[in-house]
Symmetry: C3
């Protein structure tokens, strides 16, 4: 019993199967097939491996962004001079990756709770009947009291009075000076799969450099300090317009890294593009252009709750971190090879089709390639064809053997090498 | 030398190997194997290609979201009427993708720094000893002064006084009117890999349409304006409850696009679901139900720093952009084909096992398929087994040969290995 | 016609090709190849399947995070005691996944719009000429009036006066007590592909437990309540320093789930690490260490707009949700198998190279494996080599043929098709 197993094992180990093949020597087929095979090979090596880097596995980073604005704005409204610093024009203040820089605003000061006429156009009326008491209008400023005011021909509402009139947006924008503000971006990415972590303050971007550099696509592509005017220009907007009605700009920090080379080549690339509205879809987004939001500062005056309402027009910056790291990995490599070999198989199949169905000599090659076996002859045309052919060939064969004395049966090679075996 | 190379080359090009095969004509095996092969084929074509779209590569979008609320709330507390507009009930104001709409609140007005009794229940005491001076309680309102007040039987604390009493949450919620607020979502996605970028204001969603449409799953699935009440209902909550204690709702904007068809079919799909708590885990999330945060408005009264503290209960909306674009790509296609062919290989292996180990005629087929070679005969059971088997088949063979003149002996190197066979 | 098709079909179904193989019984080759094959097998099963879980498809979650701070801070500046509660020290208040806890600050009270000297060092001057009127300095506090003040030897600016002097950061930090604040994290993840959704309040993390637990890497790894001091320590910072100048800490909630096992094993893992600056890049990030932002509280005093400016130093927490769920899927499984078989093919190729080019008996094996076919002999060295070898083998062959009267030359089918070749 044991011996059987062991012998079976030894057989297993000392034997090796390799497919028998027909070596077709035919220019057409040969060339065709070789070309197909070379094509496949070229595809696998050239495309999958070199171009698509199929031997690498990829990972996306977890990232963290911190931003800081610098610069001072100045407005002069009817002689009332004032400056705007970071604490005034950045929302929210804490340096998120998505924030708004105020560039224009409509201010409504000293609003307090009370009854006042709705804006003209918002809700016109001819009689009290038009102003249903206690009802709202989605786009209105308050709750209707049911009174229609003759003076304005609009309904009276309970609201923060006076109601804001955002009819005409200041032009030119209040804070054109925003063009000169600067944005500092601090971004760190970590590729968990590869355990690599990088900051956009890469090698030799040190304090000294940062203190004086300003981002420039060509001259200072790694400087993390950006002039707002430049960002807007690079994203294809006109500062004047975007500053007036507001807009949204995406700052993409692109970390495309090949970690098979030194990690210090893994550096960020900054690109800028307008959000909700590139050339392609302007006509769609015209649906609601601009960017603005309302924001109130509350205070107490003479024991009365009051607020200053600001309709803020501004540029919203979204800092979008895109990352893709690649590193050699055995799995994708072997998978690529494996399926490459598979495709090779396809090539062979194709060639065989050519060989067996298209060539004039197909019958000949078919017989070379296939060996028919039917233990109990089946009475169907096919098997008959075979039989005869086989039978007939046997005759021919015999003759041939005597006649030409030429045989190219490799099998009999066996004997040629061990003549002694056959001789006896 | 040159000629050698060239000839070698010409050989390489004019030759072509194709495996020799045995064509087994056997109903059982044939059917079995064909079925297996067809199964594999069906799997590759039907499943991998058609169903799983294995011929496409995928990409995830970078997206940007901007939101805007509209609507007015109204409260009447002991005759003090007031309305709440966007600037009052949205946090943060600047239209982020994650924001809170206040639906209920506990207000504590006129807090100022000072010493006052801790809430009853928060930190009861019977004697000063119970109130260690200078110490804190994690859930307390301030720093203990070390005094135990008889009036309230609680410790005295240095805190914003009077301390907030959030014992009972207003019911019904203060701002049930929030149900009628509307949310406008502006979302743009960009698939960097395919260079496609879309906005949720797709074709024929223009200003005119937006000005009057309201989202409805069936009638207006592309309208980007949502009624809060609808959102809450669609996410399976009861507005009354969520408005009272607060809650979090995820608005998923799903961009699943097949970019092989016209890009205008790449449209968003909106779905709504409660966060932290689907049916499955209610009992877990009961651990901390609701959503609220504290928020203070500071002001100066009689040169004294004061603040109005708001404990805000609200609905937090997270707008989650899910995206998956697919486009034809040669790599995954060929990889799928390649590994498909590989699986075909598996099918063949299986069939061979059937053929060589399960069929009664296995010995016969084995001899058909395999050709044995051992230059120096090994005296082990196995080779003997072969010998006999071959011997046997040869007999059968010979008889058959005489009979039909047809031989289907694979290769008589039977002889080279079994001398005695050749002897006769 | 029909019959032809049907017969062709029946042939197709009742036939089955299997490659003919040479069974090489040779210790060296056998062992080599078996080992290679076993190696491949081991790789596919052991590595791709068991280790890399190649039979699973993966998905990334959409997640939602809500945070809540608790705790009270205390400061005593020249006898002016005050406490800081959540509404005072958390920015933004609404419990986002990224927020700042104030630990130190520079306060500038009662700023109002006006003219005052720029900070010393910011913009020194010797004469009015040095202070160009109407111009700004990027890092300055306001707009220059064109006056150089003798008293301070700095330019006069229009700004919020008095200008903030952030020269020296308070040390020790104002709010060391922040160390004892606690952070509660509520996080829910949904794996859309698998339709599984989980909350970090997993099974048996109930109200009772939460009310008293405190996160500890070893003893309470699932408690969602974290002490700030612990977080800072675990992320490798010294609280004292980070509290003074500020810093950013990433709290990674890692959801790595194998959904083939019970979903209740899908639990979060919390890790903490400093952002923008791990050991590797300290020298880079020194470029701009710390974290701070400015924040103003506006108020009205004697009908004058005033503000209290806070330069907030704090710890910024980014809660980063990392997720990767795996579940059995037929596609990757079969792809892996398929390409595995492909690699097997590679193994065979390698073995054949050994067999056909390295072994001393290569000629012999070549003849075993290959069958040469050239209908019209080409006069090139190669084919000559073959001819001879073939011719030579014929002798042996012929004898053998006469001997046994048995022909098993499949090649002679050749003759059946090109008789003319045979005739001569």
């Amino acid at each position: 019993m044991m011996s059987q197993i062991s012998s079976a094992l030894s057989d297993f180990f000392f034997e090796y199967e390799t497919p028998r093949q027909v070596l077709v020597r035919n220019r057409r087929v040969g060339v065709v097939c070789r070309l197909i095979q070379l094509g496949v090979l070229a595809y696998i090596i050239g495309w999958v491996f070199i171009y698509e880097k199929g031997y690498q596995s990829t990972d996306i980073a977890v990232s963290s962004v911190f931003t800081k604005m610098k610069g001072v704005g100045y407005t002069n409204i009817e002689g009332r001079e004032r400056v705007w610093d970071v604490a005034d024009y950045v929302f929210p203040p804490q340096g998120d990756s998505s924030f708004v820089v105020m560039t224009n605003y409509i201010i409504t000061e000293g609003q307090k709770m009370g009854k006042c006429p709705e804006l003209h156009g918002k809700h016109n009326c001819s009689s009290h009947a038009d102003c249903e008491g206690g009802s709202f209008k989605r786009t209105g400023h308050g709750q209707m009291t049911g009174v229609c005011l003759n003076a304005t021909k609009t309904c009276e509402v309970l609201a923060w009075c006076p109601v804001e009139d955002d009819g005409d947006v200041p032009n030119p924008p209040m804070l054109m000076s925003a063009e000169n503000y600067t944005l500092f971006i601090k971004n760190s990415v970590t590729f968990p799969l590869f355990g690599v972590s990088r900051s956009n303050l890469v090698e030799n971007i040190d304090t000294a450099y940062i203190s004086k550099c300003l981002y420039d696509p060509t001259n200072a592509p790694l400087c993390p300090i950006f002039r707002l005017g430049d960002i807007v220009k690079l994203s294809g907007f006109k500062f004047e317009t975007i500053a007036r009605v507001g807009g949204a700009i995406g700052i993409v920090v692109d970390w495309t890294c090949n970690l098979d080379v030194d990690v210090k080549h893994c550096i960020p690339k900054y690109t800028f593009h307008g959000l909700y509205g590139n050339a392609a879809e302007t006509d769609q987004t015209r649906a609601s252009v601009g960017y603005n939001f309302r924001y109130a500062k509350h205070y107490l005056e003479d024991n009365e709750q009051k607020r200053t309402l600001l309709k803020v027009f501004g540029i919203r910056f979204d800092i979008i971190v895109q990352s893709l790291a690649r590193k050699f990995d055995i799995i994708p490599t072997l998978t690529a090879i494996g399926s490459g070999v598979g495709i090779f198989g396809v090539a062979t199949v194709v060639c065989d089709l050519v060989l067996l169905y298209l060539l004039p000599k197909r019958e000949f090659y078919k017989n070379m390639k296939f060996k028919y076996t039917d233990p109990h002859v089946q009475p169907d045309s096919e098997s008959l064809r075979i039989e005869t052919s086989v039978y007939y060939t046997f005759e021919a064969n015999a003759r041939q053997v005597q006649g030409t004395g030429q045989s190219n049966d490799p099998d009999s090679e066996a004997c040629s090498t061990e003549t002694e075996v056959c001789k006896k």
